[in-house]
């Protein structure tokens, strides 16, 4: 049992943090399946991050007064149970409540798992496992969620978590000794946590907006989107060897990471086309930035600060409040921009239909078919294929009609890309703001 205890606890940490963004790619399917509005479905994401962000520190305070093994086991069991509840939710309200319970369990589990990992692997390695599991979970979450949604269903995202978490319950109970908690001697590392919060808000732009652009804007399948955004975790893993190559001071590493995230987001804001390859290099920058910053900042915020679990909880709070901040800032911007994009998109479509090399009657048929697809989009990118499927033209006209459909799809992709631009740039601004929080820190040290 001892051999698998630490890996199971680390997997639990990864799952809890992956859940922050794991449903991102499933949101369109949840929206349709539970007949929810866009605003409601956003709360599936927001509720989890908000409760986890606000619940982490109280969970750490409660941990001091509880039996660590029972505390951790209860947290993991609550997380597993709520995951199962999420899978069987038959309304959006139930799903949001289940996500809140899942986050409460997740907060307890994260705090408990940290101490259990330290008990199992020692101070340095235990914290290292906890931090690394969190970074991997955060980066892999959207990819795993997208693949599961495409392969099975959105419910599968929650179902697959249950056995892993359920196995971790006996693992938590099997941990023999938990180190004695020291008295509360250190104040939270405000600057490191602030940087972490701003950077998490910026990373939300990268992970959340990019998958939305891929699925909703460019009409790619969740699996394609998942494979595309897998560049981020791969690059995040590559960041460590890169840092080891130069061995810069931690401040430099964090500053460079923030700059890379900002640069990657600028790159994502200005793709030359909807070809997925154009998103690879910007994503690699974001992934490198994530790999250089999140574990460094987390370690910095926790570095020799006691009690360890409380300072770890502050980092969880900072990260997830940052995610909520990112969603709160970016969601209204990109939904308004998507709404504003309708007019230029409709005008571009009108222009192409008027000038298309079709017979006049066929142009009228296209206009009538498209009319229904373009009205009442409520800020969503319309799907033109069903409208074109209904148009009946002579065989000789079909190539021109097919070309028109491709051209119109291109216009919609252009409009969606333009609509996401400002949000990506705001994300880049948040990453630069995270970079700015490091400046006074450098001055103080040098004086």
């Amino acid at each position: 049992m001892r051999l698998v205890t630490a890996p199971l606890l680390a997997v639990t940490v990864g799952l809890v943090l992956a859940d922050s963004a794991i449903v991102t790619l499933a949101l369109p399917e949840i929206l349709h399946h539970l007949d929810a509005s866009v605003g409601q479905v956003a709360w599936v994401l927001i509720a989890y991050n908000l409760v986890l962000g606000l619940g982490a520190v109280p969970a750490a305070l409660a941990f001091r007064r509880a039996d660590p093994r029972i505390f951790t086991a209860v947290g993991i069991a609550m997380f597993a149970g709520a995951s199962a509840w999420c899978a069987f939710a038959d309304s959006i309200e139930v799903l949001i409540v289940a996500r809140c319970v899942q986050a409460v369990g997740g907060a307890l589990a994260l705090v408990g798992c940290l101490e259990q990992l330290v008990a199992e692997r020692g101070e340095r390695r235990g914290v290292g496992w906890w931090v690394t599991a969190g970074v991997i979970g955060t980066a892999v979450g959207p990819v795993a969620g997208g693949l599961l949604t495409q392969a099975i269903s959105w419910q599968a995202i929650f179902v697959v978590q249950v056995p892993f978490a359920a196995l971790a319950v006996p693992a938590a109970l099997a941990v023999r000794a938990v180190p004695q908690q020291g008295p509360d001697r250190h104040r939270p590392a405000i600057r490191a946590n602030l940087t972490l919060a701003l950077l998490s808000a910026a990373l939300t732009a990268a992970l959340f907006l990019l998958v939305l652009l891929l699925v909703e804007g460019w009409g790619r399948s969740p699996a394609t989107a998942a494979l595309t955004v897998s560049v981020v975790p791969v690059a995040a893993i590559a960041a460590r060897p890169l840092a080891r190559l130069f061995r810069p001071p931690p401040e430099v590493e964090i500053a460079v990471g923030c700059f890379l995230v900002a640069g990657g987001l600028v790159g994502l804001a200005i793709p030359p086309s909807s070809n997925l390859l154009w998103s690879v290099a910007p994503q690699a920058l974001v992934g490198l930035g994530l790999g250089l910053t999140v574990d460094q900042l987390t370690s910095r915020a926790m570095d020799l600060r006691l009690p360890r679990s409380e300072h770890a909880a502050w980092t969880i709070g900072a990260r997830h409040v940052g995610v909520v901040l990112g969603l709160a800032v970016l969601t209204p911007v990109f939904t308004a921009d998507l709404q504003d994009a309708q007019e230029p998109a409709q005008e571009a479509i009108t222009s192409l239909v008027l000038d298309s090399p079709l017979m006049p009657q066929d142009k009228v048929s296209v206009a009538e078919a498209l009319g229904g697809a373009l009205v009442d989009q409520q800020g969503q990118v319309p799907e033109l294929a069903p409208a074109f499927d209904r148009i009946d033209v002579a065989a000789g006209e079909q190539p021109a009609l097919d070309q028109l459909e491709r051209d119109l799809d291109d216009q919609l992709e252009r409009a969606a890309t333009r609509a996401f631009r400002d949000s990506f740039l705001i994300g880049a601004g948040l990453a630069l703001a995270a970079l700015l929080t490091l400046v006074p820190l450098g001055r103080r040290r040098s004086s």
Binding site: L242, A243, L245, F246, R247, P248, P249, V252, E253, A255, V256, F259, L260, A262, G263, G264, V266, G267, I270, P271, P272, S273, W278, A281, P282, L285, L288, A341, P344, A345, Q346, E347, A348, T350, S351, L352, L354, P357, L358, M359, P360, Q361, V364, A367, E368, G371, Q411, R414, A415, T417, R418
Partner: protein, 203 residues
């Protein structure tokens, strides 16, 4: 690795990577991947049609007419088209601009020689008209020169545009049969008026 390389190595690499990625994106048109912008309706646009005869002529007239109307109303051609396609009442400015635009289209096509002579449209017009068979045969027997001397396409079209109840027509764009019926009636009236005036001038 010395201290300078430790401090500067990673930042320099990051700067190069970001500059490279953003530069390549911009260099390939990254900043301008946006929806097609509507063209200036006041700039003359070459208008063609795949259709022939009356259908092709109508399409060209409408495309030029909408451009001219949009120019008068100081909106884009696409904005005006979308506005006219929506259900609802049309205002006087829109109706007047469209009528003037269609008439300008006739003049433009006449000036650049793309307006077909009346004889080229007669057969097609007779097919859809409700004249009796004897009269249709008689008209078809007339030499082209006689038809073209009696009927000037631009004159007939201008009269037809004047006769069209554009407000009513724009409010019922969804009914193809109504549309054809209204246009057919206006053209028929215009032909009669044109012939009547011609005879009056001859006498």
């Amino acid at each position: 690795m010395n201290a300078t390389a430790r401090w500067a190595g990673l930042p320099v690499l990051a700067l190069v990577l970001v500059a490279l990625v953003v530069g390549v994106q911009l260099g390939n048109g990254g900043g301008s991947y946006e929806p097609l912008k509507p063209a200036d309706p006041c700039a003359e646009r070459e208008v063609t049609s795949r259709a022939e005869g009356i259908e092709g002529l109508t399409e060209q007239l409408v495309l030029i007419g909408i451009d001219e109307a949009a120019c008068t109303l100081q909106v884009s051609r696409e904005e005006l088209t979308l506005e006219l396609a929506r259900p609802g009442e049309r205002n006087d400015a829109q109706v007047d601009a469209l009528r003037d635009g269609l008439k300008t289209a006739v003049t433009r096509m006449k000036d650049d020689g793309t307006l077909p002579p009346a004889s080229a449209l007669v057969d097609e017009a007779l097919e859809s008209s409700d004249l009796n068979g004897f009269l249709k045969t008689a008209i078809r027997a007339l030499p082209d020169g006689v038809i073209d001397a009696a009927l000037k396409t631009d004159d007939v079209l201008t009269r037809a545009i004047d006769k069209l109840d554009l407000r009513d027509l724009l409010e019922n764009l969804t009914s193809q049969a109504d549309l054809e019926q209204q246009i057919g009636a206006a053209v028929e009236e215009a032909v009669k008026d044109s012939l009547r005036d011609r005879l009056r001038n001859l006498i």
